[in-house]
């Protein structure tokens, strides 16, 4: 009783709505307020505890024993609410069930296994950049590059057929909205749930996948018994859900960063080997995946605050990635910084299993661009697209000056 009273007094409370449009479009003010309010903040509107400081977000991401994913990594608590689709075997699972799918996918997407894609994707990027620059020097870099490149590279690597690929981005947008509350963004997608889900599920079958892609390798793992045949299509689904929009908005963040930081673009042009680091710095700076939830497996104490068993914890990855307690001059996009340790890909057992794929895509595109483009600048206001989880883009109008 007295303990509960103390907690009520000590715990900062906020009635802010992290999923309101104006916050999704410009989340930094809320991030700062939450970081400053305390290590744990109670969000009264949703009855959840929020973590926004690097130290506590990092610790919670690693601590799967106390912060579980199996009850859903969105606001919905699968202990009480039915998920909108069969839960992910990776994102929405905990050890031990998480072990086998994670092991299989980690091996398929590990850096040594991706080497064969490096040359292929460099050529794809070269071709795309040529094509874009041949047509115009002013264009929407979001559509022409950030969307176009992953859509050319990734579905082929998975082994998808040619038809219906236009469904990938809307499906991802819908899936990432579904981690938030049932707000207008979720309602706006509702009429397409059945159709998009049916298309995605159809792509996950063995028959739908070419023999040489990640998808076929997942099925081969099932044939070896490393997964069950029931698990295989759901593991393929994880690739299709989490592998496209995230990279698209990560690349857009990177292009936006360079368009607004011309000296950093010069630095990259002088040292193209900074491509990977610059992508990670952009992921830190913009955090394409802004938030994920966990659920407390027991009464767990975070910096003196007891988070009750079974309640949801909202982790602000974007806020952690700009925590001045961890990063010097955090709001600056800075290629001289070492972004290692950012939580834009998460951390711990659920850390993005496709991060090496994303980095390879970014490296291919940025390297091709750096060779051809001297300057890149905005020609108008870039537009964001609100999404409950992703820091999404709608338009990034730019002008480029090509190398003579």
């Amino acid at each position: 009783m007295s303990e509960a009273l103390e907690r009520a007094v000590a715990l900062p409370v906020s009635d802010a709505d992290p999923f309101a449009h104006e916050v999704l479009l410009d989340p930094e003010p809320l991030h700062q307020a939450l970081r400053e309010a305390g290590p744990v903040v109670y969000l009264s509107r949703y009855d959840v505890h929020a973590l926004a400081r690097y130290e506590h977000v990092h610790a919670a991401l690693a601590d799967w024993q106390h912060f579980e994913s199996g009850s859903g990594v969105g606001l919905a608590n699968f202990r009480h609410e039915k998920p909108w689709r069969p839960p992910s075997l990776l994102l929405e699972a905990d050890p031990p069930r998480h072990d086998a799918p994670r092991r299989v996918l980690s091996e398929i997407l590990a850096p040594p296994a991706l080497r064969r894609l490096r040359t292929r994707w460099a050529a794809v990027a070269e071709e795309l950049v040529d094509q874009v620059l041949r047509d115009a020097t002013e264009f929407d870099a979001f559509v022409a590059l950030a969307e176009a490149f992953p859509l050319r590279a990734f579905p082929d690597a998975v082994g998808l057929g040619p038809d219906g690929r236009e469904n990938l981005l809307p499906y991802g947008n819908m899936a990432f909205n579904a981690f938030g509350p049932r707000n207008d963004l979720v309602a706006a997608d509702a009429h397409r749930v059945a159709e998009l889900s049916a298309w995605v599920n159809a792509q996950c079958t063995r028959e739908a996948l070419s023999a040489d892609g990640f998808g076929a390798q997942i099925w081969a793992a099932a044939d070896r018994g490393d997964l069950t045949h029931e698990q295989a299509p759901l593991v393929v689904r994880s690739l299709l859900t989490a592998g496209v929009d995230t990279t698209v908005h990560g690349l857009a963040a990177c292009l936006y960063a360079f368009a607004t930081h011309p000296s950093e673009w010069q630095r990259l042009r002088e040292r193209p080997e900074l491509a990977r680091t610059s992508f990670d710095e952009a992921v830190r700076w913009q955090s394409p995946v802004q938030t994920f939830f966990r659920t407390a497996t027991t009464d767990v104490t975070v910096a003196g605050t007891v988070v009750p068993r079974g309640t949801k914890i909202l982790m602000f990855l974007g806020a952690a990635n700009r925590d001045p307690g961890r990063w010097h001059d955090p709001d600056r996009f800075d290629l001289t910084r070492d972004p290692s340790g950012h939580v834009g890909f998460g951390m711990g057992p659920h850390q993005c299993v496709g991060q090496h794929v994303a980095r390879l895509e970014a490296e291919a595109l940025l390297t091709a661009l750096a060779r051809r483009v001297q300057r890149i600048e905005l020609t108008g206001t870039p537009h964001r697209h609100p999404n409950n989880t992703l820091r999404s883009w709608a338009a990034l109008p730019v002008r480029v000056q090509t190398v003579a």
Binding site: D99, E273, D338
Partner: protein, 335 residues
Amino acid sequence: MAGSSVVTDAESGVGAGQSTPGHAATLVVAARERVAEDVVSLTLARPDGGRLPNWTPGSHIDLVLPEGATRQYSLCGDRWDAHTYRIAVLREPAGRGGSAYVHDRLRPGDRVGVGGPRNHFPLVPSEKYFFIAGGIGITPLLPMVHQAELLGADWQLLYGGRTRASMAFRQELTDAYGERVHVVPQDELGLPDLAALLGTPRPGTKVYCCGPAPLLAAVEAACAAWPPYALRFERFTAAAQTGPVRETPFEVELRRTGHTVTVTPEVSVLEAVRRAGADVLSSCEQGTCGTCLTPVLEGQPDHRDSVLTDQQRRANDCMFVCVSRSCGDRLVLDL
């Protein structure tokens, strides 16, 4: 060979086991307990009490002996306890020094170098398991049994040993799981009739076996008619685990920038090359996430990560600089 709980898969050997006590992986013996005749268990923790890298049933760690060679021991503790590892080691009079070191030298409070964890013996999903342990081969199977129970799988454990008193964790297993555990002490009951137990393939059942070579050979023979991939085992091997000891500094050349740095035992290659101005992206700094993969142009890395397969390790063409080091005097990296 009867004996130690040295467990490696059949492929280990070349390069494996050559090690340096990495600064990031010095653990302290938090507890030492006799768990059967000639078997002690060690509980290991970080000196600062922090979280240890995650592991899965079937994983082993490398224990670094004072002379620098390593021995592999299966983790047999509770993965829900993120702060300790547990291993159990059989005294092996004819062994190569690992069990003697653990039995005679290591005491609570002592520090010991540890590499890994890595898993060559993962528990794959199944509705039914048949676990077969011979002697100290119980160690990797112990967490598997707990996990199978947790997942509601239909499982049985056949646990053979010389005598009841020699069989580690026997009592705890029979107390917890009753009839699922079949204890077969050789002095009372002789050897189990594997042909009768395994002769008829059971669809949907995975067989997991760990123990001395004759047991594995017998299980393999008895499972001849089983479908591919149904049988999974981990061998006790005496594969050479000795190798050049590097408690001395080595040089790393950064080919692209032309710098050469000396890596002393207290620092990681990652730290050393960063000080030399190389931009190397890292993330977990525990050898598990795979971010800091760096191409190796010359030299033989001492791989200490949990990512590369044995085949990839042997290729010597890349390394994870956050934890891996050098076997020789010099490495050349594409940095």
